[in-house]
Amino acid sequence: MSTVAAPRTPARPARPARRGINWEKWGWMYMRISGVVLVVLIFGHLFVNLMIGHGVKAIDFAFVAGKLANPFWQVWDTLMLWLALIHGANGMRTITNDYVSSVAWGRVLRGAIAFAAIALIVLGTLVIYTFDPCPNVPADQISLLPSFCRA
């Protein structure tokens, strides 16, 4: 009366051990290493943006421009961007592998995840390094720029 496959029966017969890099293992390691680093980066990000001074209330153009003009925060944000997106995308891949049994759908979804992650890494990195903190604005908006623009 065995109509249901026994638990832990692999979908495909186990392949003989392959030579070369074990990507699943390094993906697994990456989740843990990036996780530890992200705790510091994200908690720091949240603390500086939400807790210091007036919190969200103080986030305006001048705040963002001031941070992105500072090499320290540029490096911080770049690391956070790359580590978090790759970690998140790899996690989403694990989840599709768990729930999507159709090979074609799996491919489509993993493709979409990879596309979103790569596009946003490129976009986010460009933003960090090409942000113009002192754009040309009408006189009534000059007060919204960071103070160093007026110097």
Partner: protein, 135 residues
């Protein structure tokens, strides 16, 4: 690797209940970790776009927030705090020789630290968000 033997469900109920990933704290922490992970991923996609838009349109925003966003941020911060703390718990389970033995205790430590952090954050954030209303 030693062979893992899972007792039949009937015996598990009679004994301690659950294994690392089936039933009880082990399973619920995994469910929450998964849900918060997905939520943060989608937030991050939007978040990078919003930071980018500030630049693309040279939109010199005077303010980033409104009360609805403020409440969303509260949920997001709660989610990331849980995911981060439980992530550290997973790492300890995997790399610390006593990790599996203490996984259940560590789950309650995660919950406790989460409550403390969130209690420190939420009132302050809500005051900041709602004192903005009407400005």
């Amino acid at each position: 690797m030693s062979k893992v033997i899972t007792p039949p469900v009937s015996q598990m109920k009679a004994s301690r209940g659950g294994t690392l990933y089936r039933g009880r704290e082990g399973m619920w922490s995994w469910v929450l970790h998964r849900i918060t992970g997905v939520a943060i991923f989608f937030f991050l996609l939007v978040h990078i776009l919003d930071t980018a838009l500030v630049r693309a349109y040279n939109a010199v925003i005077s303010s980033y927030k409104n009360p609805i966003m403020g409440l969303g941020e509260l949920g997001l911060v709660g989610a990331i705090m849980f995911h981060a703390l439980n992530g550290l718990r997973i790492i300890l389970i995997d790399f610390w020789s006593k990790g599996v033995k203490y996984q259940r205790v560590m789950f309650w430590v995660v919950v406790g630290v989460w409550v403390v952090l969130f209690a420190g954050f939420a009132p302050r954030h809500l005051i900041n968000v709602f004192s903005e209303v009407g400005h």
